[in-house]
């Protein structure tokens, strides 16, 4: 007779995140833990070797030897990727969320491989049309979002050529809600058509604003990808996803009033760049810039993508 394996019951000590402490201190009942998730930030699945000739016991040997870091107390730095519950075990493909920079020129990124947000009218005027008379790719109008059609678009689905895009995506795998996180000091999320602001769900202690946008209630942001034809050089209507498609998220960014009216944040956390990098009508200009990321997470599928964004202000 042997002892029973008791490894199934594990005791862990948790630490409060900075946001947890802030909510606790607030004393308004907002500190209430109601659910949990499992994270695998340290795991590199590329180490999973299912071709190991020694047998299946060795497939995950290197994964299991991964050293684990202590808990971060910054809520934004933990749980970047989560485990997913899907009530099917026979899935070979999972959907991803992908930046669509091929739909047309209005979804392109800037030549710096970022999206630029012009924070005031003077900067918009300089960047709206380049010296060649065409719109500069990847420049969002932060003062007047409706001034140009440039926008950020993300597509969700199975990005594989092994399955035809004509097949519909399993409803289990269709993302219906996205969380957008953006530094609230720098900008906010607005819709593509009217430039109306999305309602922010909460702003954490690090001024990180989170917007939850759902297919059912925020159709101006989240909608199904209708085109099921394969992408070709002349037809990219289906977006960036090569296989079965789910939903798309489209939005613009409006610059904050602080960036619009003050240089303080540019001087504190930013730098300066020239027209040679940023572009513009007249050239020879200097811009103040702040680099940041807008993080988009599929609430159901957990897939996360960071979109690089540069807030730009014309100096002279």
């Amino acid at each position: 007779m042997a002892f029973l394996d008791n490894s199934g019951d594990i005791i862990l000590d948790a630490v409060l995140t900075d946001t947890g402490r802030m909510r606790l201190a607030r004393g308004d009942g907002s500190f209430k833990i109601v659910k949990f998730a499992l994270g695998d930030d340290e795991i590199n699945y590329e180490l999973y070797n299912k071709d190991d000739s020694r047998g299946s016991a060795y497939y995950d040997l290197e994964v299991l030897q991964t050293p684990i870091l202590e808990a971060f107390t910054d809520n934004a730095a933990s749980m970047k990727s989560k485990l997913i519950t899907i009530p099917r075990n026979n899935l070979l493909f999972l959907p991803i969320t992908k930046l669509n920079t091929t739909f047309d020129a209005s979804t392109n990124m800037h030549s710096t491989n970022m999206f630029l947000v012009a924070v005031d009218t003077a900067t918009e005027d300089e960047l709206f049309v380049s010296s060649t008379g065409t719109s500069i790719d990847g420049v969002l109008m932060g003062e007047s979002p409706t001034r140009s059609g440039n926008r950020i678009r993300l597509d969700q689905g199975l990005d594989t050529t092994e399955i035809s895009p004509a097949r519909s995506l399993d409803p289990l795998l269709v993302e219906t809600q996205y969380a957008i996180e953006i530094d609230n000091r720098l900008g906010s999320v607005v819709d593509n058509t009217d430039g109306l602001a999305a309602s922010v769900s909460f702003v954490d202690d690090d001024s990180l604003a989170t917007y939850f946008l759902s297919r059912g209630t925020d159709r101006q942001f989240v909608s199904d990808i209708q085109d099921t034809t394969a992408n070709t050089a002349s037809n990219t209507n289906g977006g960036s996803i090569r296989g079965p498609r789910g939903t798309k998220l489209v939005f613009k960014v409006q610059s904050s009033l602080e960036l619009n009216t003050s240089d303080y944040l540019f001087d504190t956390i930013g730098s300066t760049e020239l027209s040679a990098v940023i572009g513009g009508k007249s050239g020879g200009k200097t811009f103040k810039t702040i680099d940041t990321n807008i993080r988009v997470t599929g609430v159901n599928t957990g897939y996360r993508i960071d979109i690089p964004v540069k807030f730009v202000k014309l100096v002279s």
Binding site: I11, V34, K35, F36, G39, T66, S78
Partner: protein, 379 residues
Amino acid sequence: MATTFKNFLSNDVANTRTLLHEAIPITGSIVSGTYSTTATTDGGENVKTYGHGMFESVYDYPFLSSSANHIFDITAGYSAASALSGAANTQNSKKINLYNQMAQYLNGYATDGSIKPFKMPTTNAEMKEVFFVPFARLLTKDEIKKGSVTIEMGLTGSYNQDGSNFLIRGKLIDFSGSEGYYVDSPAGEYGVLYGTSSHLGNGYAAAVFNDETLGNSATMPAVGLIYYQAGVAVISGSLFNDETDGGVLNDDSTLDTTELGTLFTPTGFQAITGSTLDVFGNAILNRVYNISYNNTTELNSTIYFCRVGHSEFNYSSNPTYLSGSKLRVKTRASDTPVAYFSTVGLYSADNELLAVAKLSEPLRKDPTNEVTLRVRLDY
């Protein structure tokens, strides 16, 4: 629909309360000489005095250093009804005020609104002359553990700086504290400090305390009170007086009433009348051989039972999990999915991460296993 969260049910959350104890040994030499500059009036570089002269603070290191930790304060006082009280005394009113302040805080008020004096609950004898040792909250934490207090004092009659103060020592202990404490104080629970002989030297062989039979706890005299939650020791001045002078020490030519420093003649606690509280405090510190107690931290915990069923959390949203949308851990669709996790996140209803717990190594999750993780959050 796919999901990354699992809600807790009502039976997944439990609350517990745990008492943690730490041993706090205060080596007497830190208090009574290590940092002394002049041994008579100055307590040393680790003893901080104040302009008001009402008490002094003892640190474990010269207090001007940022490394210094406050360990306790010391002061003394007497009742207005004490025989020692007299208008001609140095700081007479301050000593009476201190006695009254501590008495009202630790003892409360009588039904007529008057401040109740300190009384020994075992004999109902009033303690009119006392010294106070309020321990720092840094060390006592939530409370002093009952039955753990030991205050050992050098009680040799004569005073010398050669260590002979400690040839004869008495120990104050709350040995019955864990089962014989009192609850009629507005400041929480308190116990009695009993005196017992701890070291006999200098040719002295009898018990240090009057009527004490060595080895018989029933004969130990009560000489003070220890307030566990307040973290204050109130010790009768009779500790330094022999029986003839109204104290608890054995009346013997070798022992005698204690000389509290070179400034004072061997008058025992009566020395308080002619000295400031600072100087008198130093005199008592020079008699401290050792102090020790255990503190208590009350830890309230919420335990979240994260029950991970066999069909849950078998896939991952980690970007490395996929290669071209295809699972790296599978060759065929019929293969068992597998994922590994290292972190448990606890979330609010609006998906804000409120607490994080880490595993020491990655844990495998696939449809053939179930895991219950007990995540404890301490407050």
